[in-house]
């Protein structure tokens, strides 16, 4: 009997946290997976179509990619700490971690834009070859997602300003953004492995 009650309580507790909003957002992320899958497929087909232009070995700088990877990985764990604080209802701690995550995301974006503008300035823009077109489309789409994530984070920081506690709705919003942010890190694993590292082997 007692076991039944605890099992029911635990079940209700789980359902309470897996709200339909979070599941719906998860399904959106799955469709986003398909977008990135298509872009990776295009890149896989185009990766040797240099049209006399530079190869990946000539245009990619692994040290910069390594720093970008480190920044994104760090921002994943700082967001995670923010979510732990959010579930403990420590609003100011959560906002601090979210702020750190925002700055790390901004740093990542800054490095990516610098890399892109450097390549374009050297005449290796997306119009140079099919390889570079697919590269800019794939990595640019990821960068666009990071930009959207940063905007979303700024909105949530604004909405939680001056709050002393978080309601269920705000926790739901923070959870959706955490899924989005960790998902972008997973896409980046594929980017640095299949785009950057495989091009310089």
């Amino acid at each position: 009997m007692a076991q039944n009650i605890t099992a029911d309580a635990a079940h209700g507790h789980d359902e309470h946290h897996e709200s339909p909003v979070v599941f719906g957002f998860w399904v959106y992320l799955m469709t986003d997976c398909i977008i990135f899958g298509s872009l990776f497929a295009v890149f896989a087909v185009m990766r040797n179509q240099f049209a006399g232009g530079p190869t990946g070995h000539e245009v990619f700088e692994l040290s910069g990619v390594g720093i970008e990877t480190a920044i994104l990985l760090l921002s994943s764990i700082t967001y995670g700490f923010g979510m732990i604080a959010a579930h403990d209802n420590k609003v100011s701690t959560m906002r601090t971690w979210l702020g750190v995550t925002f700055l790390l995301g901004l740093g990542f974006l800054f490095m990516e834009i610098r890399e892109f503008s450097h390549m374009i300035a050297e005449g290796n823009g997306p119009d140079r070859s099919a390889f570079l077109s697919s590269f800019f489309t794939l990595v640019g789409t990821h960068g666009l997602h990071v930009t959207c994530g940063l905007l979303w984070m700024a909105v949530l920081l604004f909405q939680t300003a001056g709050k002393t506690e978080l309601n269920e709705r705000m926790i739901g919003k923070l959870t959706c953004l955490s899924l989005f942010w960790h998902f972008l890190d997973i896409v980046w694993i594929c980017v640095f492995t299949f785009v950057y590292l495989m091009s310089v082997i």
Binding site: E18, I34, A44, T69, I77, I189, T193, I201
Partner: protein
């Protein structure tokens, strides 16, 4: 009460689980960059090794950061994910296979 803490700890992760995931992710990332930069393996061996490391790292992120698990609350999330992975594999492998075959038969390379 103890039950409450453990079940919420499972669905949101704890500092410890985030740190475990982070350390594993760092090790896997450094290994992938190290293998490529040190030229320790043959080119085809390197491709296989870093692809394997990427798959392992994706699983680490899913478990420790996205808190995916086999619990009943996660069932539909996991099912949607498995279907998506299947679609992406068909999409990517199919595209590479068809375009490679076309390119060979058209003698464009």
């Amino acid at each position: 009460m103890a039950d409450h803490v453990s079940s919420s700890g499972e669905s949101h992760g704890s500092v410890g689980s985030y740190l475990t995931g982070f350390v594993l992710a760092v090790i896997l990332t450094v290994a992938a960059f190290g293998i490529v930069m040190s030229h320790a393996m043959s080119p085809s061996g390197t491709v296989g090794a870093i692809a394997l490391l990427a798959v392992i790292q994706i699983v680490v992120h899913l478990v420790y950061f996205l808190h995916m698990n086999g619990s009943s609350a996660q069932r539909w999330n996991v099912m949607a994910f498995v279907f998506t992975v299947l679609s992406v594999i068909v999409l990517v492998a199919g595209t590479i296979f068809i375009m490679h075959d076309t390119s060979i038969n058209m003698m464009s390379r």
